[in-house]
């Protein structure tokens, strides 16, 4: 789960991570009054969307006076911001963050994330702040210092020193830095984060550390025990079909193609999308129904897929173990009738009671083609796409 910069900064504040003064505004008047209350110029106006690259795209502006704050707020609120991370359609800006400008002496990079290979938490720091960290990792990896924390032992003093010396911090900043990193680590662990990233983390001209930007993602598997974090969810930043699908516990991701697909199992679902592409079409979605392919779920899945105007055909690929193919087939037939399905559907089933399942589909009188195996399914998908 992702959140906005302003929400990440709220969490930073809670954990005593230094951030610029400011607040989030949802309309122009509020933006101006927040700026007024800062008693300081310049003021930074930042578009709040779930994507980076805002600066280069005009989503971060420096206002020298209140009338500029008003002007930028008016321009930004409601605009569609297209950055190198939003995709071509961009994202609508509904909120802006108003902050005091800060005197920047140095820009650093800092992040915390789980390292899957070592099963530890990695803390990364770099002198190359304010840049694309992936590019830094590629071109000048020696500029990044990493320490790996054992989750049962926690962060150790020598690891803090490794980070601090790696950043060439003046000794005057060591204590501030240690405290900040300990607090960030605690934030990471207490809130089940999957990423905490500060880029840039700055040293001000007054020799203070401050987080100018803040990005926090959360482990979806842990949201059940992070009720306050769940409150930060912004469904406006998610695809409406995906939001709809999540209401039915359907694991659905919208894509841009023309063949919808419904599969049981994530690996098989990914492989099915790949098969669709190989057949010369494009997958319209990822959809894993897991073990829950009963009539109601199939109906919900059909409705979601049919709401996507690009879909001209559907492929169902189910390997039934516990799930019985005759139960699935009955579900598909019932759902098709209920939604008034008129698009062609190819169904490839395998596993328990497969013959009974195929018979149910054949006898249904609906436009449901059965595929005997994946090669056959691919051929039928190609036909659907060309039609």
């Amino acid at each position: 789960m992702n959140i906005h910069e302003y929400q990440a900064k709220e969490l930073f504040k809670k954990h005593q991570i230094p951030i610029p003064d400011g607040g989030v505004a949802f309309n122009v008047d509020s933006a101006v009054s927040i700026a007024e209350a800062l008693h300081d110029l310049p003021v930074i106006v930042k578009a709040q969307i779930h994507a980076g690259g805002r600066g280069k795209a005009g989503g971060v502006k420096l206002a020298k006076n209140l009338s500029e704050v008003k002007k930028f707020a008016k321009e930004m609120l409601g605009m569609t911001l297209i950055t190198n991370q939003t995709g071509p359609k961009g994202k609508c800006v509904n909120k802006i963050l108003i902050e005091s400008g800060v005197n920047i002496d140095k820009e650093l990079y800092f992040s915390i994330l789980p390292d899957r290979a070592s099963a530890r938490i990695v803390l990364m720091a770099s002198l190359a702040g304010g840049m694309d960290i992936e590019a830094v990792a590629d071109e000048t990896p020696e500029k990044i210092v990493k320490v790996y924390v054992e989750p049962l032992s926690g962060i150790q003093g020598f690891q803090l020193r490794q980070l601090a010396f790696g950043l060439e911090l003046p000794s005057a900043l060591m204590r501030q830095f240690s405290t900040m990193v300990r607090n960030l680590y605690e934030l990471f662990v207490m809130n089940d984060c999957s990423l905490v990233e500060i880029n840039p983390l700055i040293i001000t001209k007054e020799t203070r550390l401050m987080a100018i930007d803040a990005k926090i993602n959360f482990d979806d598997n842990a949201l059940f025990r992070q009720k306050e974090i769940v409150e930060f969810r912004d469904v406006d930043e998610e695809d409406p079909l995906e939001v709809e699908a999540s209401k039915y516990q359907l694991n659905y991701i919208k894509m841009d193609g023309n063949i919808g697909n419904m599969v049981n199992g994530a690996g098989l679902a990914m492989a099915t999308m790949d098969i669709i592409k190989q057949a010369g079409a494009e997958p319209a979605n990822f959809l894993d129904v897991g073990g829950g392919a009963n009539a109601e779920q199939v109906e919900n899945a059909f409705r979601i897929m049919l709401s996507d105007q690009n879909v001209k055909g559907i492929l169902i690929n189910i390997f039934g173990g516990i799930l019985r193919c005759d139960v699935l087939a009955t579900g598909v037939v019932e759902a098709s009738k209920k939604v008034g399905l008129s698009l062609p559907v190819v169904i490839r089933m395998e596993g328990t009671n497969v013959e009974a399942g195929r018979k149910i589909l054949e006898d249904s009188g609906l436009n449901l083609m059965t595929a005997t195996d994946l090669v056959d399914a691919a051929q039928k998908v190609a036909q659907m796409a060309q039609a």
Partner: protein, 290 residues
């Protein structure tokens, strides 16, 4: 007898009295697995069919000599269940549960490193040595006993698809292992390949990977240096969009790393026979392994 489990493995089921636990314990028993105990706190003294239930894993091990745990405990409590089993002295833990928080799994993995135990999973279908023992949720009847092919996969139903094609082409399986779809797991491709390389009944391996992480790449390094038996590889997720979690918590392309393309290339560089058309994997296997 193949790798990690055989007809003598004595299984205890954690969560045996729950819906998933009881259903699958029965399926395993029907397959011939020696399910000797169940563990559900506060249900000690009860029975699930003929299987005695205990309050703790330690008690179950003491009373029945169980040496393998099969875990169906809900995600919120599963890391704890894993640690409990390691502490009780079992040799193998098979964690089926999906949805365990990553930080929990990191802690559990660190904890069990102090014990001589192997963890398979979590978020996996389990392990089966066809004809001998089924410790997991896979449909037994698609498998063919007697080998000579070992199967290792991050997936569930995609593995069944592969196994089904092997069986249809007359190729039996020695052992099939689902290592699971999570980013932090107990057993990885490299561990299983090592075991298959050392197993005299396994003459070839099918390896099923997907986007996310570098487990396949690490495995390919091993294959290049140590593997003498032929390996067929398949990678799911060529069409997965970057930055999205594709069902499995571990199936995510982060920045430029973990792509299907990179994994396929690593396999080609290691002389793994890459299957690019899933529907024809069985045919390919027949040609390569016979």
């Amino acid at each position: 007898m193949s790798i990690f489990v055989d007809k003598n493995t004595r299984v205890l089921v954690q969560g045996i009295t729950g819906k998933e636990g009881s259903f699958h314990a029965r399926q395993c028993i029907a397959y011939g697995t020696k399910v000797v105990a169940g563990v559900t706190p506060n249900k000690g003294g009860q029975k699930m069919d003929d299987v005695p239930v205990f309050n703790t894993v330690a008690l179950a091990v003491k009373e029945t000599g169980a040496n393998c745990s099969l875990i169906f405990v809900p995600a919120a409590f599963c890391a704890d269940a894993i640690m409990e089993s390691a502490d009780a002295g079992v040799d193998l833990i098979v964690a089926i549960t999906e949805g365990i928080p990553v930080l929990d799994m990191m802690k559990a993995k660190q904890y069990i490193q102090n014990y001589p135990v192997r963890l398979i999973g979590p978020n996996c279908p389990g392990i089966i040595t066809p004809g001998e023992t089924k410790i997991g949720i896979m449909p037994g009847n698609i498998h063919k006993a007697g080998g000579p092919i070992g199967v290792v996969s991050r997936s569930g139903t995609l593995t069944y698809e592969v196994v089904h094609q092997l069986t249809q082409n007359g190729l039996g399986q020695t052992t099939c292992i689902g290592i699971g779809g999570d980013p932090v797991n107990g057993t990885n491709f490299i561990d299983v390949l090592e075991a298959f390389q050392d197993d005299n009944k396994t003459q070839g391996v099918v390896m099923v990977g997907e986007i996310g992480g570098n487990a396949e790449e690490m495995a390919c390094d091993y294959i290049k240096q140590h593997m003498t038996k032929p390996v067929i590889g398949f990678i799911a997720g060529l069409t997965a969009p970057p930055g999205r979690r594709m069902g499995h918590a571990g199936a995510i392309v982060s920045g430029s790393s973990g792509t299907a393309q990179a994994k396929i290339q690593a396999m080609k560089d290691a002389d793994v026979h890459v299957c690019e058309n899933l529907g024809k994997l069985g045919e390919m296997a027949k040609q390569i392994f016979q």
